[in-house]
């Protein structure tokens, strides 16, 4: 399992392959809400069904690493739809 490193405000953050894939997917679509279905398709190659809580767990890992140490939160939830990355939450 290859480790990936991203940088925020000059700080290095180590991510696992799946966390990294998830972050890349969200960042490529900055500001757009990505549904759980799409996340499963792109990150987990649709190997398991959509009832899983895997995405919530990974979003929480990502938040712990990317957002927790900083004031500005980047990863947001749109309940019932999916997740998105933006400097401020969509109103």
């Amino acid at each position: 399992m290859n480790k990936k490193t991203v940088t925020r405000s000059g700080k290095n953050i180590n991510l696992t392959a799946k966390e990294f894939a998830l972050l890349v997917l969200l960042c490529r679509n900055t500001g757009k809400v990505i549904s759980k279905q799409v996340i499963l398709e792109k990150v987990w190659e649709l190997s398991f069904d959509t009832g899983t809580n895997t995405i919530e767990v990974y979003i929480s890992f990502l938040r712990n690493k990317i957002d927790k140490p900083f004031d500005v939160k980047l990863i947001h939830t749109k309940p019932g739809f999916g997740y998105y990355v933006r400097e401020a939450p969509l109103s």
């Binding site: 190997s47 899983t52 890992f61």
Partner: protein, 457 residues
């Protein structure tokens, strides 16, 4: 030298040293006391002669008491010489004793006041007395007959007591050792009769408490060890038996196919068919030998705390992705029992290849034995352990099969329509044990098989 003899000799030696040492000290202390007493007697006689000659009346209270105590009865073979300060002999006793003064000796007495000496059986003292202005020398010697006789009988007593003590100690030690080691000797005789051919035999466990009686402890531990050995032997025998059986089946099919093909004139198409079928059997044999090799290889790998940390959830997800490619109709549901409190709970030191193989086997089994091709994988990461639950709906295993299914070549009643050798779960168990973990089986709601791979941190 046997332990028994060594024990007897050591104990006897120690007791002898103590016994002889104390008896000798009694003897020498007695002898010293005797000499001291006798010298006092000689002094009393010498002083009396001196006092009589010089007319000394008032000797002092302490001297008088001493004289009264030591004076009675003249010692045997008593000799006495009284000399004045110029070494002139004034009186001798007996009167015909011709005493020649040794002036240099007498001179040294002048400073020491008293010299003790012994000559053969005689014991004597030389005194220089300076009392009320009168100075003189007294030489007195005699034979302390009765005390010396008592001393020699004491020597005999000491010799007899020491000899008897040593002999009694030796006999006692020998008897004790004989009694104490009897069960050990019996045990060792019984042990000698147990060989690889009669591993079913057990040694007799004597009466007594396992905790307090060492012999019972040894016998019990030995029997327990035999139990384990017998089990291991049995497992190995079964393993070889099953392995050869499993190898024989495809070989026999291949042989009969080849024989019947040789008997006929085959068209190219038929020959191709035969070869195809042979290839299938050969592939099966390769799979089997690979699994056997894998099992034996794991024997040589040992747990290491320095193994790289494996991120277990992503490993499981990777395995699921591969499984999907091999079994396109498999439907896997992957879930976390709950969000792990810390991400670090998902890491533990492990061998990635082996863990993949274990998870792959579990998912494959769950798929093959399921009634609906649905497999549920649930991940539980806690502070001290990681649990991977793999569930499927389908025929469940009977209670007696619960333990046996992890043995090599065991196949349950539900395996009749599924190809395989019964090695998968034993491989999983080996891998789990390698990671200081375990594999467990339980039935949920009567029709769900749940296998749990547990790895401790």
């Amino acid at each position: 030298m046997s332990v028994r003899i060594r024990f007897v000799l050591t104990l006897t030696l120690v007791v002898s040293i103590i016994l002889i040492g104390s008896l000798l000290s009694v003897y020498f202390l007695y002898d010293r006391n005797r000499k001291h007493d006798f010298a006092k007697r000689l002094w009393a006689h010498g002083y009396t002669e001196f006092a009589n000659y010089y007319g000394i009346k008032d000797a002092g209270k302490a001297t008088l008491e001493k004289l009264n105590y030591y004076l009675p009865a003249t010692p045997i073979n008593f000799h006495l010489a009284l000399l004045d300060s110029n070494y002139r002999v004034i009186k001798t006793e007996p009167a015909d004793w011709n005493y020649a003064a040794d002036t240099s000796l007498l001179q040294s007495v002048k400073t020491k006041k008293r010299i003790d000496f012994s000559e053969g059986s005689l014991q004597g003292i030389i005194l220089f007395i300076n009392k009320q202005g009168k100075k003189g020398y007294v030489i007195a010697s005699a034979y302390d007959k009765y005390s010396v006789a008592r001393l020699s009988s004491l020597r005999l007593i000491i010799f007899v007591v020491a000899a008897a003590g040593i002999i009694i100690t030796g006999l006692f030690a020998f008897y004790y050792v004989l009694v104490a080691t009897r069960p050990l000797v019996a045990l060792s005789l019984q042990m000698r009769h147990i060989t690889e051919n009669n591993l079913k035999l057990r040694v007799k466990v004597g009466k007594g408490n396992v905790k307090s009686n060492e012999i019972v402890q040894i016998a019990t531990n030995f029997n327990n060890m035999l139990d384990r050995l017998e089990k291991a032997f049995q497992l190995q025998k079964n393993f070889v038996h099953h392995a050869s059986h499993e190898l024989r089946t495809p070989l026999a099919t291949m042989l009969s196919q080849t024989e019947s093909a040789l008997r006929k004139d085959l068209t190219v198409k038929d020959a191709y068919k035969v070869l195809e079928s042979l290839k299938e059997d050969q592939q099966e044999m390769i799979d089997l030998t690979n699994s056997l090799l894998l099992l034996s290889q794991y024997e040589n790998i040992n747990y290491s705390i320095h193994w790289p940390k494996v991120r277990i959830d992503e490993l499981v997800q990777d395995v699921i992705v591969t499984a999907k490619k091999i079994f396109p109709d498999i439907n896997v549901c992957f879930d976390f029992a709950e969000t792990p409190e810390k991400e670090s709970y998902l890491y533990f030191p492990g061998n990635e290849t082996l863990l993949r193989s274990a998870v792959r086997n579990l998912i494959k089994n769950a798929y093959l034995y399921s009634s609906d091709k649905n497999v549920k994988v649930i991940m539980e990461a806690l502070s001290n352990a990681v649990y991977i639950h793999v569930e499927n709906k389908g025929a469940v295993l009977s209670t007696e099969d619960h333990d046996r299914m992890f043995l090599p070549f065991f196949r349950g009643d539900n395996a009749q329509n599924v190809k395989g050798f019964g090695l998968g779960l034993s491989i999983v168990r080996r891998i789990a044990e390698l990671h200081k973990g375990s594999i467990m089986y339980e039935i949920i709601d009567g029709n769900v098989n749940r296998f749990t791979l547990l790895a401790k941190r």
